[in-house]
């Protein structure tokens, strides 16, 4: 089955990112396709490259990057949610003198249309939030 996932909350204030990650792993192991993970609202903070949790803790941002490396799952950060909250798309960052490497590896920034496309094309869409 084709499953899409949406993440609405920041990585460390709630368990959201953990639950979603475990769910995705289980879906992959069960042979399903995870079509896209869409980061919306405060979920966009999951993509901040500069995140540096203490060494004895799980690194949520890095875990997403590894998920992309291993499974090539499309990790999309909503452009308008991101821009409002301080994560700029590379070309915009260059133009306004912001951080042009803000996005962690494996993520891409795009519009809400990609969420709709995922919802329409997938058999299931599961939202995780705070």
């Amino acid at each position: 089955m084709k499953i899409s996932v949406q993440i609405n909350a920041s990585p460390y204030q709630h368990q959201t990112a953990d639950t979603a990650w475990h769910f995705i792993q289980a879906a992959l192991v069960s042979g399903h396709e995870v079509y896209r993970v869409f980061f919306y609202h405060d979920g966009i903070y999951n993509a901040l490259r500069d995140s540096r949790p203490p060494g004895d803790e799980r690194d949520i941002v890095k875990r997403w990057s590894e998920l992309y490396r291993q499974s090539n799952i499309d990790l999309v950060v909503c452009v308008s949610s991101a821009q409002r909250r301080g994560l700029l798309e590379q070309s915009v960052a260059k133009k306004v003198g912001g951080y042009d490497k803000a996005l962690a590896d494996g993520f891409r920034i795009a519009g809400l249309g990609l969420l709709m496309e995922a919802v329409i094309d997938s058999d299931r869409h599961v939202t995780f939030g705070d």
Binding site: N8, Y40, H41, D42, S80, S81, R84, L112, G113, L115, M116, E117, V119, I120, H125, T127, G129
Partner: protein
Amino acid sequence: MKTLVFVIDKPLHGNVRAQEFLDMAMMAAAFDQRVLIVFEGDGAYALMKNQHADVIGLKNMIPVLNALAIYDINDVLIERESMKSRAISEDQLLIPADILSRCDIKSRMNAAGHVFSF
């Protein structure tokens, strides 16, 4: 074409999350999906008249709610039981909405392709 239900079950006020949630509904309409918006629980308060978010510098959601019709989103449902227990009468509603029972709303949702929440 899928039927996509957007459930507003908490107040819309005081954060941009609500605004971003309605952006999703309008994007769904722009993708020619069948959009249903449901107000229930404390979400029913979102449809009350006389909201003045500008008093505290917040973005006024009323134009956004009014814009739903422009996007051809006319299926706006509100749960009768939620209105009753919150003492909200029909004439207090900001935009036209079908007042349906919990049971009827549940049936509509059961038939949907997906249910969004925030």
